[in-house]
Structures are given as structure tokens and as C-alpha cells.
């Protein structure tokens, strides 16, 4: 009743119902949006600091494989992936290379006799510093920035 100043019982009930209904709808509806979207929009941090053990445990001048696992959690599922890096010690300096071939992600191995990394899949070869000798690989081996703190080696691992 727009002409009357008095609110009728029916109009009052309608307004209250609409208000309470909207309130309850918002109380469930708005959180539901976050509920549906939040896990989808979450970006997993893939960068991690990995400890590779004592510097002294690595031989001088010989690339040595260090294997470790990283756990990835997707919702209620956990996946454990294994990774390997070659640690090359030169005095107090270290060079840490990924053992994943840059061609098609096969795992390379160190061949001490020929002083080279060799990939069994397509005969890609790299020198001791990860540079390309020959083969189909598009770029040198990936290197992880490494630091030595109190005699222990740490790398900033980005893969996986």
C-alpha cells in the first residue's frame, strides 16, 4: 500500500521473508563459490630447498649421483616422485646438474672412462660441466643453484 504510512501485516511479512531468504541464500551461496573455486585456483609451490649432505662426502672432480624424493599433494592424493642430481665438487665449490636429458627427459648417466654424460635414449652426450658434446638435445644440462653452508650442500630445486 504505497499511499498509506502504515505497513500492512502482509507487506511486513513479505519484506521479512525476502530479507531472511536473501540472508540465508548469501550465507550458503557465497561460501559455496569459494568452496568450488579455492582448490582449483591454488598454485602449488614447486620451489624447494633440498639438502644434499656433507660436502666432504663427495669425491673431488667426479660427478656423483644424489637421489631424493619430493612429495606432491593434490587434494586427498599424494604422489611421491624420485629425482636425481649430479654433484660435481671442485674444492669448496659445487656444481649441481639435473640428470634429466634436455632432449626428451630420459635419465643420463656419468661415464667415467669417456668423461661424459650419456643419454641412452638418443645418444646425447654432455661434457662434465653439462655442455653439449653432440646429440639431438636443444640445450645444455639444467643446473640448480647450489650453496655450501657449514660444510653442507643445499640446492634450490625447481623441477617437479
Amino acid at each position: 500500500m504505497p499511499d498509506s504510512h502504515e505497513v500492512s501485516r502482509r507487506d511486513f511479512a513479505t519484506v521479512v521473508m525476502a530479507f531472511v531468504g536473501a540472508l540465508i541464500g548469501a550465507l550458503v551461496g557465497l561460501p559455496a563459490i569459494g568452496y568450488l573455486l579455492s582448490p582449483a585456483l591454488k598454485v602449488q609451490k614447486s620451489e624447494a630447498r633440498v639438502a644434499l649432505g656433507l660436502l666432504d662426502s663427495y669425491p673431488e672432480g667426479v660427478p656423483t649421483l644424489f637421489s631424493f624424493t619430493r612429495t606432491k599433494i593434490n587434494g586427498w592424493e599424494k604422489t611421491v616422485n624420485s629425482y636425481g642430481v649430479f654433484v660435481l665438487r671442485k674444492g669448496n665449490d659445487v656444481k649441481v646438474l639435473s640428470n634429466i636429458c634436455t632432449h626428451l627427459s630420459c635419465r643420463v648417466s656419468w661415464q667415467e672412462a669417456q668423461q661424459r654424460y650419456h643419454c641412452p635414449c638418443h645418444d646425447a652426450t654432455y661434457d662434465i660441466n653439462g655442455g653439449i658434446i653432440k646429440g639431438p638435445q636443444p640445450r645444455p644440462m639444467d643446473e640448480y643453484p647450489a650453496t655450501v653452508e657449514d660444510g653442507s650442500i643445499f640446492v634450490t630445486f625447481t623441477g617437479g
Binding site: V28, P31, A32, Y35, S38, P39, G75, W76
Partner: protein
């Protein structure tokens, strides 16, 4: 503009007629006890909405059910709220539906011509209890597992066909992945379909026959 649009739809769908038939019904003087049916309907709507949301992350498998609920509670924004509403809403719905039944009984509202409303109500009450029973297993924690073990064993005490009922409920001799899967299926498909259909008939009867008045001294 909006009025023209509404008029266009109204002319074809008869929205005003539906509105008047459903909401502008003539009712006798009633009290708050007469709101329990609407409360039950509201709770069912809430359970349906939150239940649909829960299926987005819940997995009805013994090796994942518990983990997926942990994920809903800790890993998903407002997951605790959605599950909380579903959890507490379930208990509240059983309570409200039951009191609704008591009100109908004590006010004699089940009598002619409302016998069918009462009978569909009986199915609705039993289906609501079934929802509670099947939903209780889904978290797949110790309490859920043993409550269902006990519950299905009780069903097994029925003379002659008890053991058969027990096995049909469990989908085998023991509680297993099969039990969880069929309880989930019954919880999200079979019973909701039954409840939805029965609510339709129940409401149609209420609208068609109107509601009964509070019985007086002479009734």
C-alpha cells in the same frame, strides 16, 4: 521493461495463478506448530544443496573416503561450513520431521480427507531416517564403520529373512567397499528421488485439500 518481460512470461506460464494457488491459500487460524512442514522442506533443500556440494570432493571408496573428507575440512575454503551444515542439518531434519509427524497425529490432521498426505508423510519420515542411516557410514571412520555394523546386524535379527536382509544391506557378509558404494548410491540417488517425489505428492495434497484447523473441545 521488467513488467513487460514478466507479463510475457506470466501470460505463457501462468506464474500469477501458481503464486495465488500455492501461496495465497485460505488457511484456518493456526499456530507455530503448523510451520514444521515448511521447516522440513527448507531443511531438505539445504541438505540437497550442501550434499551436492560435498560430492564435488567426496570419494566413496574405503581408501579415499576418510582422506577426502579431511581434505574438505582442512583443504577447501568453507569446506567445514558446507559439511557442518550438512552434518547438523541432518540431525535437525530428523528431529523436525518427527515433531511434524507428532503435530499431525495429535491434531488429528491425518483424518479424512488427508489419509494420503499422512501415508506419503510416513514414507518421507522413513526415507529421512534412511538418509540418516546411509549418510552416517560415508565418513568411513571408526564410529561410522561400527555404527553401520551394529545397524545392519539389528536388521539381521528379523525372523527368518534377517540374515538375508543383513547381506543385502551390506552387499556381502561383511562391511566392505561394496557396502560403502551402495550406501553412497542410496544416499545420493535412490532416497533423494523417493523424497523428492513424495514431497511433490505431499505438497499437492496440502494445496488441494488445504490444512486442517486446530481441533476444538467438541471434535
Amino acid at each position: 521493461m521488467l513488467k513487460t518481460l514478466f507479463a510475457w512470461f506470466d501470460e505463457r506460464l501462468g506464474l500469477t495463478t501458481i503464486y495465488h494457488t500455492v501461496l495465497d491459500r485460505k488457511i484456518p487460524p493456526v499456530n507455530w506448530w503448523f510451520t514444521l512442514g515448511s521447516a522440513s522442506l527448507f531443511l531438505f533443500t539445504m541438505q540437497a544443496a550442501t550434499g551436492i556440494l560435498l560430492t564435488v570432493y567426496y570419494v566413496p571408496s574405503p581408501d579415499r573416503a576418510y582422506d577426502s573428507i579431511q581434505y574438505i575440512m582442512t583443504g577447501v575454503q568453507f569446506g567445514w561450513l558446507i559439511r557442518g551444515i550438512h552434518h547438523w542439518g541432518a540431525s535437525l531434519m530428523v528431529l523436525v520431521v518427527f515433531i511434524h509427524m507428532l503435530r499431525t497425529f495429535f491434531f488429528g490432521a491425518y483424518k479424512f480427507p488427508r489419509e494420503l498426505t499422512w501415508l506419503t508423510g510416513v514414507v518421507l519420515l522413513l526415507a529421512t531416517l534412511g538418509m540418516g542411516f546411509t549418510g552416517y557410514l560415508l565418513p568411513w571412520n571408526q564410529r561410522a564403520y561400527w555404527a553401520t555394523t551394529v545397524g545392519t546386524s539389528i536388521a539381521g535379527t528379523v525372523p527368518v529373512i534377517g540374515p538375508w536382509i543383513n547381506q543385502v544391506l551390506r552387499g556381502g557378509t561383511d562391511l566392505s567397499a561394496v557396502t560403502l558404494a551402495r550406501f553412497f548410491s542410496v544416499h545420493i540417488w535412490w532416497l533423494p528421488v523417493v523424497i523428492g517425489g513424495m514431497i511433490g505428492i505431499h505438497l499437492y495434497m496440502v494445496i488441494r485439500l488445504g490444512i486442517s484447523a486446530i481441533p476444538g473441545k467438541d471434535d
